[in-house]
Symmetry: C2
Subunit: 150 residues, 2 copies
Amino acid sequence: MIQKLSEHDREKLQESLAHSGQKVTAQREIVFAVLLAKRDHPTVEDVFQRARESMPGLSLATVYNCLETFVGCGLVRQVNHERESTRYCPNLAPHAHFRDEATGHVHDIELPPEIIQSLRSILPPGFNSETIEISFHGRSQESAPRSTSN
Amino acid sequence: MIQKLSEHDREKLQESLAHSGQKVTAQREIVFAVLLAKRDHPTVEDVFQRARESMPGLSLATVYNCLETFVGCGLVRQVNHERESTRYCPNLAPHAHFRDEATGHVHDIELPPEIIQSLRSILPPGFNSETIEISFHGRSQESAPRSTSN
DNA sequence: GAATGAGTTGGAATGATTCCAACTTGCAAG
DNA sequence: CTTGCAAGTTGGAATCATTCCAACTCATTC
């Protein structure tokens, strides 16, 4: 069961939505809360399942709508990997993604500003980029058994 | 109509396929030739249309099969952008992609090795990345009218 | 020249996403 | 109030890229 939004998060939601002429609804609150509660880059289906625990009547279409709305007003980012289901991420700081091919998990990798700068600098003249997406693909030790010595 | 493969390209095809125990077929030759002929990151459907001009009986399933085979033996790369159709790219040098949101075109951006190095260096310990994908998203001046003064 | 196996084929199946028309809700104007 | 509107929600149908599958082709080997 998902916790209600903190006052702070509700305000963020309210402001971002208002900014593009939209309203806070019960469904949007829950979907947003689900995203904040477990930042494991859930798919639409994941969000749907989790949100339904708090609101059994919620429909899948609404989850799609809410997520699209959030992306539109800059509250969350989409994360695509190959042709798999789209995942969603409420981390707004500039970051890359690391996709563990063993587990399928996605991890955020912080992106230092100088890297972003140097990436921009490799664009030939005449190319203006608004967004840069970086994704690593490999294996991490997350699922490997931890050394038992500590 | 697609030109036949050069001797050099046919050899590359033959070797890469042989390397993973597969054979050169007429269909694979044509599909490969299509990729080399126009490096505009075609979709499967694009490749299908172009290849059919030379081989009208070719089936879409075969184009999917050929492209998958090529990816498997390292002859071409897949390029995904959001949830659009997968595109294919025979440029094997390390490069990023720039996606022009006005035209939908994809451009290759050369990636200097030191950038790749510095990107690898931001991964926390325990993360081993085999591949890094970088895609820019914005507008280029490709379709803007050139200055008429030169 | 029959058997084998890789490759090809067309059509059916899948699965994520989008579309749509009906329904609900909150609110503002009469 | 209560009527009407606009925004949001809903479930189911439609879409579309991709995958699956079983039948077929073809070159090779015994």
